[in-house]
């Protein structure tokens, strides 16, 4: 228990210990975590609970938003109880409640925001809305204490972007995908080839025994300047190659599948490596303290190795948080909330859940930029 005088949040930059609960429910992981930091000291993850939904969506070949929302609404409070028990803390030990308020599947985000409002109202604690992407982007500060500015490559099932992270709420987007996210492309590849979901690990395992040179898959957008990415054409090329084999042989041999996976993975790796090289070059004199990665795709060993080499060639440290903190989790939300809260920010009980919420509002929209604005 902290002294009472320490618990008054007045926005002043007083040295004090902050403990936040975080909730995450924007896709297919229901999560709750507790993070604590004494000002100036390294943060500590006191608990991190992640309840996956993979088996609920397995039969559908992708995340079904309504199924995800139904599960989140009935799991969030259980995850919070489990996280508090793991941290051996009561709500009275907390300074604020952080929650993912977007971007993501709106049904799940809403369940999280409403559960967090209920907890905050009943416990008399401040509420801090967190951008899910900020959670990913700030994770290297939680795990490795990175100083600003650093270059972040965020590559997951729902996102792909290069961010220059200048502050806890200051992000400049250097580029991103104009269509699919790479994790989505891995999942679709797995689906097309009859491999299990999630596709990332399945495709990576199959690719290990394959010949990456057998199929000449495209490297989309390498012919264009800048750091934008595209993966939907690559997926189409893979489907055509598969269909040609199925037509001529009546199916796929195990080796065909391995070669297709290896070719696909090599194309993704080449594209991400080259675009990351350009992003590093684009930072110019504003030299980043590190190249950091986050998102489930960063778990791919081949991609990780190439990026690590690239960082070494540029003389910047390479930071990849442990896998459990690369994929969706609530520790990153508690941490991003803690950074916001320490800076004096919190939200009212009218906090809105936002399906679309770009981190860098100044950057031109890339995906889904209809009348509602950029997705992420």
């Amino acid at each position: 228990m902290l002294p009472a005088s320490d618990r008054i949040h007045n926005g002043a930059r007083m040295a004090r210990t902050l403990t936040l609960l975080g909730l995450e429910s924007s896709c297919d992981e229901t999560a709750a975590a507790v993070v604590r930091q004494a000002e100036g000291a390294a943060p500590e993850i006191l608990a991190s609970v992640v309840e996956g939904q993979a088996q609920l969506h397995a039969a559908f070949g992708g995340v079904v938003p309504e199924i995800a929302a139904r599960a989140h609404a009935e799991k969030l409070d259980l995850c919070v109880e489990a996280a508090l028990a793991e941290a051996a803390l009561d709500l009275s030990d907390l300074d604020a409640i952080a929650v993912t308020a977007g971007p993501g599947l709106i049904g799940g985000v809403l369940a999280g925001v409403m559960c967090a409002k209920g907890i905050a109202a009943g416990a008399g604690l401040p509420l801090v809305g967190v951008n899910h992407l900020a959670g990913h982007a700030l994770t290297p500060r939680l795990t490795d204490g990175l100083a600003f500015p650093y270059l972040m490559l965020l590559v997951s099932g729902g996102h792909a972007q290069f961010l220059m992270v200048r502050g806890a709420e200051r992000f400049a987007r250097l580029g991103g995908t104009i269509d699919d996210a790479p994790g989505e492309a891995f999942d679709k590849t797995a689906k097309l080839l009859g491999l299990p979901q999630p596709g990332g690990p399945a495709v990576e395992a199959a690719a290990a025994g394959g010949d990456a040179t057998r199929f000449a898959f495209p490297r989309p957008l390498l012919d264009r300047p800048g750091c934008d990415l595209s993966f939907s054409g690559l997926k189409t090329a893979l489907m055509r190659a598969r269909d040609a084999l199925v037509t001529s042989q009546g199916g796929l041999h195990e080796q065909d599948r391995r070669d297709l996976c290896a070719g696909f993975q090599a194309a993704v790796t080449d594209v991400l490596t080259e675009k990351t090289r350009r992003a590093l070059a684009a930072t110019g004199d504003d030299r980043p303290t590190a190249l950091a990665v986050a998102g489930g795709v960063a778990a791919n060993a081949g991609i990780r190795a190439r990026l690590e080499q690239l960082a070494a060639d540029h003389g910047v440290p390479f930071v990849a948080p442990p896998l459990g903190l690369c994929t969706d989790n609530a520790a990153m939300i508690a941490w991003a909330g803690l950074e916001r809260f320490r800076a004096g920010h919190s939200d009212g009980f009218d906090l809105t859940a936002r399906p679309r919420w770009p981190l860098d509002a100044a950057a031109p929209a890339l995906v889904g930029s209809g009348r509602k604005g950029a997705k992420a």
């Binding site: 309504e66 199924i67 609404a73 409002k117 009943g122 809105t352």
Partner: protein, 217 residues
């Protein structure tokens, strides 16, 4: 400080944000705001206004009743998630109350309760006396009715259903949030499951149309 334990009831299962505060049998404050969207933003400010109007605080509540539908999926989840969060932080029970039980509250006997399911359909259930619910979804003029002839009808499709059953149309005894609070107050002290949405309709999802490729030996 109110003399008797307070029970809060709220509901966002349809195009409204409704809440009521019950002190004993007495609804001491209530709100009903029609809104097609924005319930997630409005619910907590509305609840705080309600408490403050009654001169009460969150810590004065003895229990929470929450509308679990059936109705708008997102709307139901907004309230259920909020109620679960409140129950966790206040250490009080949150009790899920089906729309059918809210309609049947205060009626002298069982009623065939109906709720709007859109697309010309209604959710129906025989309700009253805290009987277990067995809801059905169908067109009010053709669906097989889960109630014997003569059962009074109440709710969205009451007139159509009453004509089919040769029975009377009843009006709800209370606005929905008051009824939800009353049902919850009566169930307080009994062991209750955590509130969960009553969807009736399954999630709209179909397995992939395309079969995976044949793997050759």
């Amino acid at each position: 400080m109110p003399p008797e334990p307070l029970v809060l009831g709220f509901d966002t299962s349809a195009a409204h944000c409704a809440a009521a505060l019950l002190c004993g049998d007495d609804p001491v404050a209530r709100r009903h705001e029609e809104m097609g969207r924005g319930q997630a933003e409005r619910l907590f400010p509305l609840l705080e206004e309600l408490l403050s109007e009654a001169g009460a605080g969150w810590r004065d509540l003895a229990g929470i009743g929450v509308g679990i539908g059936p109705g708008n999926f997102t709307g139901v989840r907004i309230s259920v998630a909020a109620a679960r969060g409140l129950a966790l932080s206040l250490g009080i029970p949150a009790i899920g109350v089906a729309g059918f039980d809210a309609l049947a509250e205060g009626q002298p006997g069982p009623v065939l309760a109906s709720l709007d399911a859109r697309r010309g359909l209604a959710y129906l259930a025989l309700a009253g006396d805290d009987r277990p619910l067995d809801p059905v979804l169908g067109a009010p003029d053709t669906v097989a009715l889960p109630a014997p002839a003569g059962t009074p009808c109440i709710g969205h499709a009451a007139e159509t259903l009453a004509a089919r059953l040769g029975s009377a149309v009843r009006a709800p005894a209370d606005p929905c949030a008051v009824a939800i609070a009353r049902v919850a107050a009566r169930r307080l002290g009994r062991r209750q499951p955590r509130p969960a949405p009553l969807y009736v309709r399954p999630a709209d999802a179909a397995p992939p149309a395309e079969a995976p490729p044949v793997i050759l030996p």
